[in-house]
C-alpha cells in the first residue's frame, strides 16, 4: 500500500484517526469479539432477526407443502417476487466484491476498514438471493437437475439458455466470494487464536487459522494469491449481474430486449450494494465505537460511489425511454407509455423519485458526511432499487404483445413472508458475524499505520 496516511487535503478526513499503534489497532478490533460482553441490544436485535428467520422457515415449509400456488404468480406474470428479490439481493452483494477486489487493485487503501464486513454482506446477500430461484422451481428438491451430471434420464442442461448461465454465474460468484472472504480472515483468525483466553475459542480460531504463523514466505504467496483472486473476482463481479440481465435481455419481451441492460444492471447492483454497506456501516461504527476506523472519509467516498452509479442508472432509464421512442416499435412505445400511465404508474414514479431525484442530494457535502441523513438516503436507494426490479419484471410481463394475455400481479402474504424472511436471515447472519469474527480486517489495518512503513537507510 503506497498511501498509508495520506497528507489530508483541506477538510478531508483521514482513513484512520492518528495515534494508533499495531497493538492498539489489534486490541480494539479483537476485543469486540473476545472480551466485550454481549450486550442486551445484540440479544434483542438477534432475537428479532431470529424470529423473522422462523417466519421464513414457516413460509418455506408451507410452500413445500402446497406448491408455488400460494404465491401471487400467475400467467402472464410467472416470475413475480421470487425473481424481483433474487435480482435485488444479488445486486446488493456486488458492492462487497467491488470494495474487496476492485478497490484493492486500484490501491484505494480506505477500503481496508470496510472490506471485511462488506464481503460478509456479499456472502449473506448471495445466500438470500440463491434461495429464490430454488424456491421458485416448484420442486426445489430436484435443484441438482440444473447441473450437468451423468444421469439415467440421459439429458443435459440446455447451455444455450441464459437460465443455465445464471446457475453457473451465481454458484461461481458465491464460491469465489466465500474463499476470498475466508482467505482474508486467516491471518486475523491467527491473531484471535493467540489473543483469546477462552480454551474453546482458542481451539475454534486455531482450527480455522490452520496454523498460520505469518512467515515471510507465507505472506509472499498469500499476497500473490490475494491479488490474483482480486484480479479474478473483478471480471467475475461485472459478469454476474450481466448474466442476470441476460435472463431478461435475451428474451423478446418488450422492455427486456435491450442492449443497455448489462451495464445498467451492473451499475444498479453497485448502487444498491453501497446503499446496504452504508446502512450497515453507520450503525456498526456507532454501536461499536469504530468511528476512528470507519471515518467520515469512508462515508463520503461510499456516498460518492453511490452518486456516480446512480447517475449511470439514471442514464439507463433515459436510454430505455429514448430507445422505446426512437425504435418506432409500437410494442416498445407501448411499454414506455404503460410504465408512465399504466396501472403501475405510481410505482414507476416512486422509482424515479427514489433512484434519481432524492439521491441528487448527495451532491451536497453535508449530506455525504451526516450519518443519519446518509442512512436515510441509503434506505431510499434500496427501496428504489427494489422497485426498479419490480417494474422490470412485473410491468414488462403484465402487458405484452396480445391484449388477450394481459393480467395483473398481486403478491400474497406468502410472497411478503418469504421476502421479509430473507431480510431477517440476512440480519441474523450479520449479527452472528459481528459477534464471532473480526468485522474489520486487523492485518490490513496494521499496514495503514505510519509505523508499518519500512524506512530505507
Amino acid at each position: 500500500m503506497d498511501d498509508r496516511i495520506e497528507p489530508t487535503e483541506a477538510g478531508q478526513a483521514p482513513v484512520i484517526e492518528p495515534g494508533y499503534t499495531f497493538a492498539t489497532v489489534t486490541d480494539k478490533i479483537s476485543s469486540i469479539v473476545l472480551t466485550r460482553p454481549t450486550s442486551n441490544g445484540w440479544f434483542l436485535g438477534f432475537g428479532v432477526a431470529f424470529l423473522i428467520v422462523m417466519m421464513l422457515l414457516y413460509a418455506i415449509g408451507y410452500l413445500f407443502l402446497k406448491g408455488v400456488g400460494i404465491w401471487g404468480i400467475t400467467i402472464p406474470i410467472a416470475w413475480g417476487f421470487a425473481i424481483v428479490n433474487f435480482v435485488w439481493w444479488i445486486g446488493i452483494g456486488h458492492a462487497g466484491t467491488l470494495i474487496s477486489a476492485i478497490l484493492l487493485l486500484l490501491r484505494q487503501s480506505w477500503r481496508n476498514s470496510i472490506n471485511r464486513f462488506a464481503e460478509a454482506m456479499t456472502l449473506f446477500a448471495v445466500a438470500c438471493a440463491g434461495m429464490f430461484p430454488l424456491l421458485h422451481m416448484g420442486r426445489p428438491w430436484l435443484f441438482y437437475w440444473l447441473f450437468p451430471y451423468p444421469n439415467t434420464m440421459q439429458y443435459w442442461p440446455q447451455f444455450r439458455s441464459p437460465l443455465v448461465w445464471d446457475v453457473f454465474a451465481v454458484s461461481t460468484y458465491f464460491t469465489v466470494s466465500l474463499i476470498f472472504w475466508f482467505i482474508g480472515l486467516i491471518p486475523d483468525l491467527a491473531t484471535l487464536r493467540d489473543r483469546s483466553e477462552n480454551r474453546a475459542a482458542k481451539i475454534m480460531y486455531g482450527m480455522l487459522a490452520m496454523g498460520w504463523r505469518g512467515s515471510a514466505r507465507h505472506w509472499h504467496r498469500y499476497e500473490t494469491a490475494y491479488l490474483l483472486l482480486a484480479g479474478l473476482a473483478t471480471p467475475l463481479v461485472l459478469s454476474v449481474h450481466t448474466v442476470v440481465s441476460f435472463d431478461f435481455a435475451i428474451a423478446i419481451v418488450p422492455g427486456w430486449h435491450t442492449t443497455i441492460f448489462p451495464p445498467y444492471f451492473v451499475a444498479g447492483a453497485i448502487y444498491s450494494g453501497f446503499a446496504m454497506v452504508l446502512m450497515l456501516a453507520i450503525p456498526i461504527r456507532k454501536i461499536y465505537g469504530l468511528e476512528d476506523f470507519i471515518t467520515e472519509r469512508h462515508l463520503d467516498n461510499s456516498a460518492k460511489v453511490m452518486l456516480a452509479t446512480g447517475l449511470i442508472v439514471a442514464y439507463g432509464y433515459g436510454i430505455e425511454a429514448f430507445m422505446g421512442w426512437y425504435s418506432g416499435n409500437r410494442y416498445d412505445l407501448f411499454t414506455l407509455w404503460n410504465r408512465l400511465h399504466g396501472p403501475y404508474h405510481f410505482w414507476y414514479h416512486a422509482l424515479l423519485t427514489c433512484n434519481i431525484f432524492i439521491p441528487q442530494l448527495l451532491w451536497i457535502r453535508k449530506m455525504r458526511t451526516q450519518p443519519l441523513l446518509l442512512f436515510l438516503i441509503s434506505t431510499v436507494v434500496l427501496t428504489g432499487m427494489w422497485l426498479e426490479r419490480f417494474i422490470i419484471v412485473v410491468v414488462s410481463l403484465h402487458r405484452d404483445f396480445l391484449t388477450s394475455s394481459w393480467g395483473m400481479y398481486y403478491p400474497t402474504r406468502w410472497d411478503w413472508a418469504v421476502f421479509i424472511g430473507t431480510i431477517g436471515f440476512f440480519l441474523a447472519c450479520m449479527f452472528l458475524f459481528v459477534r464471532i469474527l473480526p468485522m474489520i480486517s486487523i492485518f490490513e489495518m496494521r499496514t495503514l499505520l505510519p509505523e508499518a512503513e519500512v524506512k530505507a537507510e
Binding site: 443435459w156 504463523r213 512467515s215 494469491a225 512503513e453
Partner: protein
C-alpha cells in the same frame, strides 16, 4: 520428540524496518536457512530472506486453463456430440452461447487453484509447528517481528549464531526446541 535438539534461534524485533535490516544482514552473513515472521505482509521481506520462487501465479494459470478448456469442451461434447438438439436452427456447436459458462469456469477453477495452491505451497493446514513452542511468539500476530535461523543451516552454531543475532540489536533471543 528430541527435546535436547534445537530447531533454531529466534530473535525478536520491534519494527518492520528493523526486521528487514536484520534479515538482510543475516543473509549477507552467509546464513541460508532463515525465515521471518510478521503480523502483516512487509514489502521486501521475502527477498531479504532469500525467497525467490513463487509458484502461485503458475498454479493459478493452470487452474484457469483447466477451467476454461474443460468448461468449453464439456459444453461442446454435451451439445454437439453426445446429444445434439436443434434449437432455433442454431448449429450444435453454437460457441457464442458457450462463452458465459466457459468464462465462469475459468474464474472458478483459477480461484480455487490459487487458494488451494497457496495453502498447499505454504504447507497449511499445519496445526503444530516448533515456533509455537516459544511463548513470546504469540506476539507475532500482534505487534512483534521475529527472525529465525534454523539449526539445519550449515553455518548454524549455537554460540556464534546467538552472538551474531545479539549484534543485530534484537529485543530478545529465544531458543526454539524441536
Amino acid at each position: 520428540m528430541r527435546r535436547d535438539r534445537t530447531y533454531g534461534l529466534m530473535a525478536e524485533f520491534d519494527t518492520p524496518t528493523h526486521l528487514v535490516e536484520a534479515a538482510n544482514a543475516t543473509r549477507e552473513a552467509g546464513y541460508k536457512k532463515i525465515d521471518a515472521y510478521s503480523p502483516f505482509p512487509i514489502e521486501g521481506l521475502a527477498e531479504a530472506i532469500g525467497f525467490r520462487h513463487n509458484l502461485v501465479p503458475l498454479v493459478t494459470l493452470i487452474g484457469g486453463l483447466i477451467g476454461g478448456l474443460g468448461g468449453y469442451f464439456m459444453q461442446y461434447w454435451m451439445m454437439a456430440i453426445n446429444y445434439p438438439i436443434n434449437v432455433g436452427g442454431k448449429p450444435p456447436n453454437s460457441w457464442p452461447a458457450f462463452i458465459v459458462i466457459t468464462f465462469e469456469m475459468t474464474i472458478l477453477f483459477g480461484a480455487i487453484f490459487s487458494v488451494l495452491g497457496m495453502l498447499a505451497l505454504n504447507g497449511l493446514p499445519m496445526p503444530y509447528h516448533p515456533v509455537f513452542n516459544v511463548p513470546r511468539f504469540a506476539m507475532a500476530t500482534k505487534d512483534r517481528f521475529f527472525l529465525i535461523v534454523f539449526a539445519s543451516d550449515p553455518k548454524f552454531e549455537a554460540m556464534s549464531t546467538r552472538q551474531f543475532l545479539e549484534g543485530l540489536g534484537t529485543r530478545s533471543i529465544s531458543e526454539v526446541p524441536d
